[in-house]
Amino acid sequence: MDGIEVKNLTKKFGQFTAVNRISFAVKKGEIFGFLGPNGAGKSTTIRMLCGIIRPTSGTGSVGGFSIDTQPEEIKKIIGYMSQRFTLYQDLTVEENIDFYGGIHGLSPSTKKERGKWVLKMAGLTGRENSLTRELAGGWKQRLSLGCAILHRPKILFLDEPTASVDPVSRRDFWYLIYQLSEEGTTVFVTSHYMEEVERCHRLAILYSGKIIAEGSPKELKTKFTGSEDSTLEDVFLSAIKKRKKQ
Amino acid sequence: MLFPIFVAPVIQLILFGYAVTTDIKHISLAILDYDRTHESRRLISSFSQSESFNLDFHLNSYEEIDGLLQKGKIQAAVVIPRKFERNLKKGAQTSLQVISDGTDANSATIIMSYISQLIAKHSENILTETRRKRTVGIVISQPRVWYNPNLKSSVYMIPGVICLILLITTLLLTSMAITKEREMGTLEQLIVSPIKPWELIIGKTIPFVLIGLFDVVLIISAGKLIFDVPVRGSLLFLFGVALLFILTTLSLGLFISTISRTQQQAMITAFFFIMPAMLLSGIFSPIENMPRIIQHITLLNPLRYFSSAVRGILLKGNDISILWPQVLALFIFGIAASVFSSLRFRKYLE
């Protein structure tokens, strides 16, 4: 079971309910998107799935492991690229790769081999000794992704991965994601960019902590706007309207 | 935000005010009385009646002194020799051995001086008694202590501490706040806006001026309430001088923010300035006692001028006629610092 399964997952911060009984499932190799405005609960969900925070109630399993009782096992098989694609700015490209390789317990030879691969994938071969701080946004993004997949995780979590990155880089990035998906990696993406989430196999729309729509982009368009040519933005607005009526 | 502005200065004041004391009290003393006579016991009771000393140990042997001093159980030991009384009555000189723990040199000196004074007083008493039988006059000293009649060290320290706290607060707040904006990127947004550079600088620094002045009021009031520090001079004058000082520290904070990329760097750099400034200001140890070269270096320390001005105003009621050198120095520093850092900051903005 290399996917994600979530049932009635809830997270409360004091009185505030950030995530309210959401349920969904992601198959192996699928690219699943979480769409929603800021503050909808996307980051909270991803953090729960990665074992960074504990859920208040509900169950979830990532790669077959329970997020409540087996977060340590989960961390071994996932890759996480956080919102601010956190690399260490004062370290060089090579040092960042080296660090994440070491953290994931790669043997020196594996580390070297994968490191070379990441450099190639990110297009940073020859720039190993550049300070991360000096890289442009697109390079940082790819390097961040590279560091997240050094250890060939089965499941990849991307939290707002293309924020503040130019459209060309964004497109290149998604090319990489598709490749990973074809190789069997499950990808869970959160974003508030409508056109970006369009590229997912399936997606869920999150609003005020609740899932108000779920399905493939085509399905959602048909269901909420009646037309396959509408944009996800239309879907989004329509779904919210529906929600408010309820 | 509230914490550094309100709470931190008061905590610092209390810490400094109560801890920083050069009063020597409760000196733990041991006495070894080899004589055990009426006169030796009289001397011992002089010690035990004195408020400065805690007569903690009556020893039986000399060897005990070593252990007690090593463990730090006593700070000094007085040895009354045999034949003490006999010598006194005979008119021969008699010597008391006073052993002090020299590790704390400063305290040792003061302890010695206390003991000397006590023995001098005791001698005087003896003299007074026997003098009635002779026609000899003695010299009595009538000390009158100005500005600080109870010789409370807090009175001396607190004004200096006020200055120190002001330095720490304004410098840290400014350098860190502006650097934080740099780190977060919000500063760049301001640069892009139609605001003129000097408007930006003033806008960024005015809040800290106000905070600084507020803290001056806060700490002086706290000083008066908690420690009884007098306010003998003109408060308005004090504010004026404080304003000049704040100008300097804010400029310094601005400068630090131009050479620091991260808040961590800013803080460490600010700290680097604060430590020497603090130690070479004359607040903790007198400048007159420092080596010549270092005394010259302290001329570059704004805190030196500010602290002597504040002390003068609060304790002696000095006004500008006496303090004009300090005011002038602070004025020069303030102007120079603000011009320099403003230029640097503008350059950075562009």
Partner: protein
């Protein structure tokens, strides 16, 4: 299982090297402080400026004045026959003490009457005032008793109820030259270590929270204790470097004695370092803001270590309540050990109470950290 602490440690070392200001804090600041405290800061009081008003102008009064002049403690700056302009001198701070010899000085003494010298002392610096009082009292006392002795000798008296002065023979142990350097330098270790251990640690952890890399770390298989050890270990080593530096510079340059066991010194330093690092860690669990972390560590580690540990200001002189608080300052115990080892040559036999206290502190702090970390991560 591959060792994850090593990559974490290596990363931290890179951080420190890439941002040299932390290194400055660790190494350069102690050197600056050593120089300042070694050369500049001295509490020895000498050359106290004094002014004398001699209203008597007799050979006796001049004799007295020459004694004052001859003392190394005073510097005679003003000598006048009238008391005009007296107050101004004190106000301006030109002199710290004014002595007024009344105009009947020698006449009274020769007639066998008491005479009073007026002392006007600037009490604002109470330390100096106290010491000046002491010195002047001694000078007066010696002068007084010399007169008496001469007088009495002239009268050919062998005193029945003799009144020679009680002479005080001072003996200073451990630090015969009363060099304050010997006192300050060992203590500097505690202050410097606290700055490094607590301030830097709380900053570096808060920094990772603020930037967001901490979250990233938590999502990896790295366990919390590994993350922490990897972060703190380099600072621990820096602390050891610090004490080595102070020992070197202190003994070689400032000739501070080191009479005790160096190995013992290093061991206790290690325990103290753990206390400091632990406090820094604790602070970082309280706030994720660098600014607040810095302020808190300044207030609760640096200032207490500087002010309440007995580093400069004697604890016995503080108010009882404050003395009570000093028991909560680890630096206080460390200072006793430091001074004991450097200046008195004492060892575990004498210092075991302080060593045990430091152990207890370290354990309590680490326990508190463990609990808080568990809480904050959930």
């Amino acid at each position: 299982m591959r060792n994850r602490i090593i990559p974490l440690m290596r990363k931290e070392i890179l951080h420190i090297l890439r941002d040299p200001r932390t290194l400055y804090l660790a190494i350069i600041l102690p050197i600056i402080l050593l120089i300042l405290f070694g050369y500049a800061i001295t509490f020895d009081v000498k050359h106290i400026p004094i002014g004398i008003v001699d209203q008597d102008n007799s050979s006796l009064s001049r004799d007295f004045i020459s004694r004052v002049k001859g003392s190394e403690y005073f510097e005679l700056l003003y000598l006048s026959n009238t008391s005009a302009g007296l107050e101004n001198l004190l106000d301006k701070g030109r002199v710290k003490i004014i002595l007024v010899i009344p105009h009947r000085f020698s006449r009274d003494l020769s007639k066998g009457k008491d005479t009073a010298l007026q002392l006007l002392i600037d009490g604002s610096d109470n330390n100096m005032a106290q010491i000046s009082l002491g010195y002047i009292s001694r000078i007066i006392q010696i002068f007084s008793s010399n007169i008496i002795r001469e007088k009495l000798n002239k009268q050919g008296a062998i005193l029945k109820a003799g009144i020679p002065p009680i002479d005080v023979k001072p003996r200073v142990w451990y630090n015969p030259d009363l060099r304050s350097t010997n006192f300050i330098v060992p203590g500097l270790t505690a202050v410097v270590m606290m700055i490094l251990a607590a301030m830097s640690t709380s900053l570096t952890i808060a920094r990772e929270w603020e930037i967001g890399t901490m979250e990233q770390l938590i999502a990896t298989p790295a366990k919390p204790y590994e993350i922490i050890i990897g972060k703190l270990l380099p600072y621990f080593f820096l602390g050891i470097v610090q004490i080595s530096l102070i020992i070197l510079v202190g003994t070689l340059l400032f000739r501070v004695p080191l009479k005790g066991n160096i190995f013992f010194l290093f061991c206790v330093s290690a325990v103290f370092l753990i206390c400091g690092l632990g406090i820094g860690l604790l602070i970082s669990t309280i706030t994720r803001s660098q600014q607040l972390a810095f302020m808190l560590s300044m207030l609760f580690t640096f200032l207490p270590s500087f002010l309440l540990s007995g580093f400069i200001f004697p604890i016995s002189s503080m108010p009882r309540i404050i003395q009570f608080f000093t028991y909560l300052v680890p630096a206080k115990y460390f200072l006793i050990v430091l001074r004991g080892i450097f200046l008195k040559g004492t060892g575990l036999l004498t210092l075991w109470p302080e060593v045990i206290s430091l152990f207890i502190f370290a354990s309590l702090i680490l326990l508190a950290c463990a609990r808080r970390l568990k809480l904050t991560l959930e």
